[in-house]
Amino acid sequence: MRADDFLYPTEAGLYCPAGDFFIDPVRPVPRALITHGHGDHARAGHGAVMATRQTLDIMAIRYGEEFTATRQVADGPVSVGGVEVSFHPAGHILGSAQIRLACAGGPVITVSGDYCRTPNPVCAPWEPVPCDIFVTEATFGLPVFKHPDPGAETRKLLSSMAEFPDRPHLVGAYALGKAQRVIALLRQAGHDAPIHLHGSAQRLSDYHLAEGVPLGELRPATTPKALEGQVVIAPPSAFASPWVQRFRDPVICFASGWMAVRARARQRGVELPLVISDHVDWPQLTQTLSELRPSEVWVTHGAEEALVRWCELNQLRARPLRLVGYEDEEE
């Protein structure tokens, strides 16, 4: 079977006709395989969903138990309409997976979803999944993106807290994944005081605690008097809402890979940019392609033009899929 007949992009997302399923579809479909729980990849309303147990739990927390008609935990290789499907850790957020597809007489395809190779205390590490066709993201697919050591970025936050002990530090971090990672990084760096949470990150953080991720003591960010000089984790959207007004003279921080570029940090009105990313940076991205050496690379979303150029320069066949609907907002 030709690769193009095995898996191809449609308006709803990547479709595998042999197994009659979509991967990370952006609209409701009868059967969906989901790589991870971020909103642009995991949507509610499908007929059947297969994902890791943690991704299914996360979808239920976000959308309610009715998010799909039926669900199946991905546990070891299973056959879906003659296609062998298996899930492998992606190192992006809790529960995130790469999906490997194989069928008799066809190529092996690995759909990476979003992935990260920097050790992340909140999830299992990325694993290489050898394949003929590697379907990769390219969120940070420009050679200017070389994410620094997250520990060093965390120390920046701590040193600002020492410099301005009377100002609350509001750290913008998406409610799923980044929020818990920032908390875990702070714990690793020795910050053991209670950390305050915006309401939208509460249930997902509780779930991480229940899954055994060491986040320490978390408190709701509802009592402003008690917050001065502390760390408050909130989704970046909260900074545009009147919620911020309860804090006196806060230092606005933002944990994101985009913070490596000053203009991006300025657009956000950020006072302390923290370059902490849950995606592969350029060196990791190109290293992955060099190590896997697939016969072909398909680029789903991000800076596909630059990555395809790199592949050309390095004698790898590559093409952009131009999938729509995956925003970089979750970073």
Binding site: L142, S241, V261, A263, R266, R268, G269, A306
Partner: protein, 571 residues
């Protein structure tokens, strides 16, 4: 370089003045000589290095990187030095102090420069690479004035800002004597002739407050709308300083040539026109220039109107009362028809003075100064001896069209506003204002912004044109940089007109008529709709804040603060 890079990064994203001061002070306290001195000079624009050009940087990039990948990266990042700092592949771990970086840039010849820069980039991490490239290109863009930097020095030890400014000129980077002094060592000798002396500044006053004072113990004079300067001629060395101590001699060679006397003189720099004084707008043509063309020197000749004498023919007059200084001033021979003395105003009562203030004889007068007769000349802004009683501001009714979130104490509030007036049936932006309203009004404005947003651009919201505000300002300048062609001086929101329909907001013609127009008393301008604001509003709505760093203009961090050498027109 690590500490310097961290300092630059922090300052670049910190909008609040006091936080900037604190960050800089801590850096200076923790960094040894001579690194801190070079860092200080780099921040204030006093490090004169041969600038590395963008062309050189592009050449470096072309040698190392694929053209397409570099172009895509540069397109995303938007800044050449930053793109190179991010994309460079080196072996970080080497250390290069800022002192070593400065020496390298000073001693390397043009031919060897590209290789030397590449060699440094190879050794540094990304933040340090950016700091090094910013240093090398001489373009730090972190919005820190020399005065603010010296304020951080003053916070480190006993010497006051005025004392520091007095010894500053003639000292060279890396300023070891200054750091020794603020850390308890001896006061440095003044190294150069014609030093700057701290300027005496006034505080605002109004008629009610004046009534508590005795007119007989005070003199009054016009407050001229030029640039307050200190002209120094000392043993053949002549310098013209702004009131914050920036040396602006280079922009005014015509005036400097006329300073053939010996002394330190306090006055107003003005542009002459047909025997009289030209408007501030005309004077602006001469500001912020390194060199001046012969044509401009002829069309916009500079002159000096003298207010006071600090030192005259070798005698320091500052400790003596104003009356004594004035007596010397009135007999002084300035040997130039471009230099004259600001006349005193005759008045017996404050109402007499109010009448004079209401009808100034020259449009380039922005109020009156009131000075105590027995006061010595004291640098800084002592409250009591000198007052400014400015003319009432002008006002215009404008429509809010954009709002941006504030910072620090205003985090979460939309506090920085862009307003516009009608040109035909469209609203053109004419200025930005971020003060003049009370805390309660700020909350009301914030609610209005959230309820009337039509579009969002990062921290900026476009607003439905529904709210009129009365904007008070000091004057209108013609401006090629603004789409409307006009720029307001010190705009602030003086009143929120919840009641006024937007269709009744003012038109661009109204502002255009105020350009160069003498104040309200010009009949034509009055007919064109020039109006007076109310005299004073609670909470100092009638004057600009002491420092503009309290919040920030709407351009936000994107907007560079005034470049080094910028002449603040505030006094």
């Amino acid at each position: 370089m690590k500490a310097f890079a961290a300092l630059l990064e922090r300052l670049a994203f910190t909008p609040a003045r006091n936080a900037k001061l604190q960050i800089l002070q801590h850096y200076l306290e923790r960094t040894p000589d001579p690194d801190r001195g070079y860092a200080f000079a780099a921040l204030t624009g006093d490090l004169k290095l041969r600038a590395v050009t963008p062309g050189l940087l592009r050449g470096l990039a072309a040698q190392r990187f694929d053209e397409v990948l570099f172009a895509l990266s540069y397109d995303f990042v938007g800044d050449l030095a930053e793109t190179i700092a991010l994309i460079w592949e080196g072996e970080p771990g080497g250390e290069l102090s800022i002192t070593e970086a400065v020496r390298l840039l000073e001693t390397t010849g043009k031919a060897g420069l590209p290789a030397a820069i590449a060699g440094v980039l190879d050794r540094l991490g990304p933040s340090e690479r950016l700091a090094f490239l910013k240093l090398a290109t001489g373009n730090l863009r972190i919005g820190l004035s020399a005065r603010l930097a010296r304020t951080a020095l003053a916070q480190m030890g006993a010497p006051t800002l005025d004392e520091i400014e007095e010894v500053w000129h003639g000292l060279k980077p890396p300023y070891p004597e200054i750091f020794a002094w603020v850390e308890g060592g001896p006061r440095p000798d003044r190294a150069a002739l014609a030093p700057f002396r701290p300027v005496m500044l006034s505080t605002p006053i109004d008629l009610d407050e004046l009534r508590a004072l005795d007119p007989a113990t005070h003199v009054a004079e016009w407050k001229w709308d030029g640039i307050r300067v200190q002209a120094v001629s000392d043993g053949g060395v002549r310098r013209l300083y702004s009131r914050t101590g920036e040396d602006i001699s280079g922009a005014f060679p015509d005036l400097v040539a006329e300073m053939t006397w010996e002394g330190t003189v306090d006055g107003e720099l003005l542009v002459r026109s047909q025997g009289g004084v030209a408007s501030f707008n005309e004077l602006q043509q001469r500001l912020n220039r390194k060199t001046v063309s012969r044509a401009l020197l002829a069309s916009h000749p500079a002159g000096l109107r003298v207010y006071d004498l600090l030192i005259w023919n070798g005698e320091d007059l500052r400790p003596r009362p104003l009356t004594d200084r004035r007596a010397v001033l009135e007999t002084a021979d300035f040997r130039s028809d471009r230099i004259d003395v600001s006349p005193l105003l005759p008045f017996a009562t404050w109402d007499d003075l109010a009448a004079l203030r209401a009808e100034p004889p020259d449009p380039v007068i922005e109020g009156v100064m009131i000075k105590r007769r027995d006061a010595p000349y004291v640098g800084g802004r002592p409250r009591g001896p000198w007052f400014k009683w400015k003319r009432d501001p002008r006002v215009v009714d404008a429509v809010l069209i954009y709002a941006q979130r504030g910072h620090g104490k205003r985090s979460g509030y939309y506090s920085d506003f862009t307003f516009g007036v009608w040109a035909g049936d469209t609203l053109v932006p004419v200025g930005k204002a971020y003060f003049g309203f009370t805390d309660e009004e700020l909350r009301e404005l914030d609610r209005f912004v959230r309820a009337n947003t039509t579009e969002r651009f990062g921290p900026v919201r476009a607003l439905a044109p529904r709210l009129v505000v009365e904007v008070a300002f000091e004057g209108v300048n013609r401006s090629a940089r603004h789409r409307s062609g006009v720029a307001l001086r010190f705009p602030r929101i003086s009143r929120i007109r919840w009641d006024k329909p937007v269709a009744e907001a003012d038109r661009l013609d109204t502002l255009e008529a105020m350009i160069d127009a003498p104040n309200v008393f010009d009949a034509e301008a009055a007919r064109a709709g020039v109006r007076h604001g109310r005299t004073k509003r609670r909470g100092g709505a009638s004057g600009p804040p002491e420092e503009m760093g309290a919040s920030r203009p709407l351009d936000g961090a994107e907007a560079p603060s005034p470049p080094a050498g910028y002449l603040g027109k505030e006094e």
